[in-house]
Symmetry: C2
Subunit: 318 residues, 2 copies
């Protein structure tokens, strides 16, 4: 049995995971980004104690604990190399966790955990080379090569979400201009929708106005996609442009890595086949090597739990 | 002792390569793109016979023969999967070569051969993860991971030269719009120079006009870089823009793969440190993971022979 931890911007989740990657029990707590790392560690330990207690288990029955972190890590040292928003930079995560639980502790980038989860028990199971793209507030990319997470020489790969697809384009949160993430994250979809909602003309009758009733903070990907499916002109305009940029970036990932399967995960993946069908033809049209066996695009099977499951099973990466 | 073959757009080269990657003897013939593949094979066989004869050697003294091809290959079958310009598509290269020489025959994409050569005996020697970018008429990318060429699941990686850096931008030879190659190949540099030479105003006194004396076909990368070094305003404008696009694409490659060393090869690499110094700061500024150990940019050590040497030593990839 494993424990997986997923550290997100708003919540920390812990899951008890069995050998087949099934979540036996899961619990979450809110994440105060202002906390120092010692408090994060204590919150993680408390969550673990809670799920163990609820299952009547002791830590001695757990093979290992794995943590997915929204940043880059040095798993050898067990530290966080680089992270935004959360006060964990240079934190000796493994050493601190071991003060609570004396079991093997692994840490890894969260997008890599999601890719590892989808490879072990999800949409990329049985492949030798796969890539999982987690699309939410940002874009995370995880690469699996020959059954292992591929992180490059410094374990910081892959950051293709911050690859420029429009030189000199939209300013990205990372400081660079024109990143894929600045066009194809859920945040980008929402930003573009807001722009059109502010315009005069044909968009003034958009259903989205009815749904949000003037409260722009209510806008999310589901509202936009739902409106598009109902034929809303504004939503279709935004989704059409969004799918274009998303496809260009996906084709770039295919060209770079040539994975057997490319998995779409994260919040946007809830659009399922509706989204997938819009992407497949475009991506196949954009990729370079049209005569070689083609990468297959799939929607994630593990949903929002991919990262948690992958983190829990990190032991299998070593 | 090995034989390496490099198939280019204008020439076919064959080299006798020793165990350390040194070229003992080399010979070339012109390449008629209209030839059928049987004629290509005969030309290759003739070149091999020639260099063997000149060295007083027999084919029995050769361990293996490797061929670098400007396209994608299926090394298992020994066939060409996809190729432009040259009439070799689906050609059973290995089988045909073996009619002349009964020794192990390996085939591989030429950019991958160059990367393998630089890894075995050049600028990326001793690294576990490296990428070599061959910049000439196009942009070829070869990835080495854990001592082997990484070609993705279909052996067609990496085609990052055809990754879009300007969505909807310049039309590329591949059909896609805005590819890195369409901005950062030597051809793109020449195209942009021609555009400015046709303009009125401050560019009318460019030194390049003096050098080419109205014959635009004479323009090449060296002439442009030489003029820039002498302070020519037009050349500096073109080089400045070229370096910008090149850096954006190189940073994309670093973000995607995080290689320990990124090697710049091909004709443009002859600009050496002058080019390298312009690239390093920009690329380091564009990459995402600024706090992790950094990828080192280097100029190729094997020059134009990287592909030939890498092809000759392909046996070491298996």
């Amino acid at each position: 049995m494993y424990i997986g931890i997923d550290i997100g911007g708003s919540h920390i989740s812990a899951g008890l995971i069995d050998q087949e990657g099934k979540i036996i029990r899961k619990s979450s707590c809110s994440n105060n980004l202002e906390n120092k790392y010692e408090q994060f560690i204590k919150n993680i330990a408390d969550l673990c104690q809670e799920i163990l207690k609820e299952e009547g288990m002791s830590i001695r029955q757990i093979d290992s604990l794995g943590i997915g972190i929204p940043g880059s890590v040095d798993n050898e040292k067990g530290t966080v190399t680089s992270i935004s928003n959360i006060k964990m930079k240079d934190a000796p995560i493994r050493q601190e966790i071991k003060k609570y639980f004396d079991i093997p502790v692994y840490i890894e980038n969260d997008a890599n955990c999601a890719a590892f989860g989808e490879f072990l028990c999800g949409a990329a199971k049985g492949t030798r080379v796969s890539v999982t793209i987690t699309i939410g507030t940002g874009i995370g990319v995880g690469i699996i090569i020959n059954d292992k997470i591929f992180g490059g020489f410094n374990s910081a790969a892959s950051e293709q979400g911050h690859n420029v697809i429009v030189v000199g384009g939209e300013r990205c949160t990372c400081g660079r201009k024109g990143c894929w993430e600045a066009y194809s994250s859920a945040n980008a979809l929402i930003r573009e929708t807001k722009k059109l909602l502010d315009m005069e003309g044909e968009f003034i009758n958009s259903k989205i106005h009815e749904v949000i009733k003037g409260d722009y903070s209510k806008i999310n990907g589901k509202i936009i996609f739902d409106a598009a499916k109902e034929g809303d002109v504004l939503a279709n305009e935004v989704v059409h442009q969004y799918v274009w940029y998303l496809s260009e970036g996906l084709a770039n990932v295919v060209n770079a890595i040539m994975p057997e399967v490319l998995v779409i995960a994260g919040g946007i993946s809830q659009q399922g086949d509706y989204l997938l069908n819009m992407l497949i033809n475009r991506v196949n049209n954009y990729i370079y090597t049209k005569q070689s066996p083609k990468t297959e695009l799939r929607i994630a099977k593990l949903g929002v739990d991919a990262g948690l499951i992958g983190a829990g099973m990190l032991k299998m990466n070593y």
